[in-house]
Symmetry: C2
Subunit: 414 residues, 2 copies
Amino acid sequence: MNAEIIAIGSELLTPFRQDTNSLYLTAKLNELGVDVIFKTIVGDNRDHLTGAATLAISRADIVIFMGGLGPTEDDLTREAVAAALGLELYRDPEIVANLEKRFAARGSKMSPNNAQQADVIAGATILPNANGTAPGQWISEEYGGRDKTILLLPGPPHELKALFEEQCMDRLRAKLPPQYIATRELKVALMGESQCDQRIAPIYRRYPDVETTILAGTGEIQIHLKTRAPFLDEAQERLEELIQEIEEELDDFVFSDNGESMEQIVGYYLQMRNATLAVAESCTAGLLAQRITSVSGSSRYFLGGAVVYSNQLKTDFADVPPELIAEHGAVSQEVAAAMAEGIRKRCGATFGVGITGVAGPTGGTPEKPVGLVFHALAGERGTEVIQRNFPGDRKRIRWFASQMALDMIRRKLM
Amino acid sequence: MNAEIIAIGSELLTPFRQDTNSLYLTAKLNELGVDVIFKTIVGDNRDHLTGAATLAISRADIVIFMGGLGPTEDDLTREAVAAALGLELYRDPEIVANLEKRFAARGSKMSPNNAQQADVIAGATILPNANGTAPGQWISEEYGGRDKTILLLPGPPHELKALFEEQCMDRLRAKLPPQYIATRELKVALMGESQCDQRIAPIYRRYPDVETTILAGTGEIQIHLKTRAPFLDEAQERLEELIQEIEEELDDFVFSDNGESMEQIVGYYLQMRNATLAVAESCTAGLLAQRITSVSGSSRYFLGGAVVYSNQLKTDFADVPPELIAEHGAVSQEVAAAMAEGIRKRCGATFGVGITGVAGPTGGTPEKPVGLVFHALAGERGTEVIQRNFPGDRKRIRWFASQMALDMIRRKLM
């Protein structure tokens, strides 16, 4: 079984807005074992929409329309799908009554244009929308000698998700051959994509029944694994087998095998060890602290820290001796170490981190080019410093530096 | 003239990857006065791709294919477009020679599969790709009695952008009726979307020749304006007229009328006044510092600050009297003000900011619920504090708080 997703709305054909619902729907359909074969984005135009609907219904088993169900004259999905299927629309009095009640509850009178949201395609099952005014519709039709399933869903993500989850997943599952799908996500820190792929390709190629997708982010690679089997535990065991082989190969570069973020993993380790953390950031300037505290409950292990952009503050907040800065420069192994040690002591933390570097685009020199960053981690038993030359722009360099610092903590506590 | 954009690649039909090239291309096509009427996403499947190509060429004036030009057997775009147009492919010896040279320069021998990148559709203009191996192709064909322009572009964004910018824009412009398009972007801080629209809709409705798109982000609304005219200054003047009316209505809620970010605007003002800034963050925990320093050159006005997650650090780094915290609680107007004043003094800055609040999801009480944030700005002439109850999750609350603090600085310096 395959599916086509059609996103409707002229705003999705501007440079500013992008359909993201389809990523959610694709994940859900994949869960059911359904592949998405086309995604189409079409504006609020009757002819374009009817054409796209006709084509999609002819080529896919399941067609999901998102958006265009509202009360304005731009909302044409119902009409277009009815026309594509050669079916009539009728106005459902119960939906009209519900809409009127909804408006009355808010103390206002329904304007007449709202009634078009009660137009239903002949034979459709109505899918009530708890989060909005326009209900969805489910149509099972024979078309060109094949069974087709056609869904009309509202465009706002929270309406669409609730409606699909609660009213469509089980109905779709009942139409599909019984099978189970298992997925896992491994995350790898600070390794090149091609290097990673070179090392694991010989492994995952021996698992042709597992779909392996490798995605590279900044300082992080995600390895998505998916397989299907007649029984769930069979599918899960198959993934576990492959994961063990990959983890053996990549060793401690793998920081998560269940989709957790680097910030979460570092938090787990710190809590497990009853340890606390403080940070002194120069070039990352708050990014590291902000990432650590993006995890709810991080106040249990994160004390705080200092953003020491100026040399004066490196001394005032992290006790870096001014002579050290004068001698080695603010961007140096020595200053990074002093920042980590100073902030650790000042905050009374188990571990202290210091980051200093050149984020660019200006401020680089032949000796200390843009991208040069020193990361220091100070603990009870001493301080280690890692130096890196990161590629990319200011944003990328800062992200790399925060990732490296988090990874140093992770490796220390592992 | 209208266009259809076709993004090719099975990875774009997974839940993990999204076509983003089309946003860039849409902006560029809009600049030329070309509307995008469809976007289609199709996998690496010969039949699907040929079908999508045939349809697109029949319904749009300009069809742009992105991706599927590489050396693997999954790269089918050349074949599919040739089939859709009923044209032959030939292998261009010059491109083959260039490819071989490229490999030789890296000291390796070209594997035979690479040669398919030299396959050219009969009559196409070859668009050399300075950043990759696969060249693009430009085809002008009559199809169904109409002139069609068909572009084959590589998928990697930096290859696509360079190639489109340098080799396609002028060629397209030459095909289009001469007209000029002016665009502007207004940004509005901390106002509700519906409130904003209610206030400006009566204005922009009087400019039917200007396309107005309103987008709401967290704590920020973008108003995109676009118009076209036979002369550029005419189009620009028309926008300027509308902008003046909108700015009159929204007054100092508008913080930018040329697309600048809030961080940039605050930076401009601080530099203009020769002022410096230091921040003490509790619930935002580095987010504010990180946003301010995302602007290159921010070291000229940003000194640094402290992430004072724990009460102890509020005292140690921002000189907040422990009694004050004991009496009013860490999340209070008094502590916010003391943080701002303390950090200002400690850092010797013109202005100091203090932020303390409950980012959630835990830690809220009936008295101090999740979302409650106090923002303080201390200057030479005193300290002001703004209290807000922000809606949403941890991420949204933290972003709102950082936005409010930046907006306080902006309003102070305006």
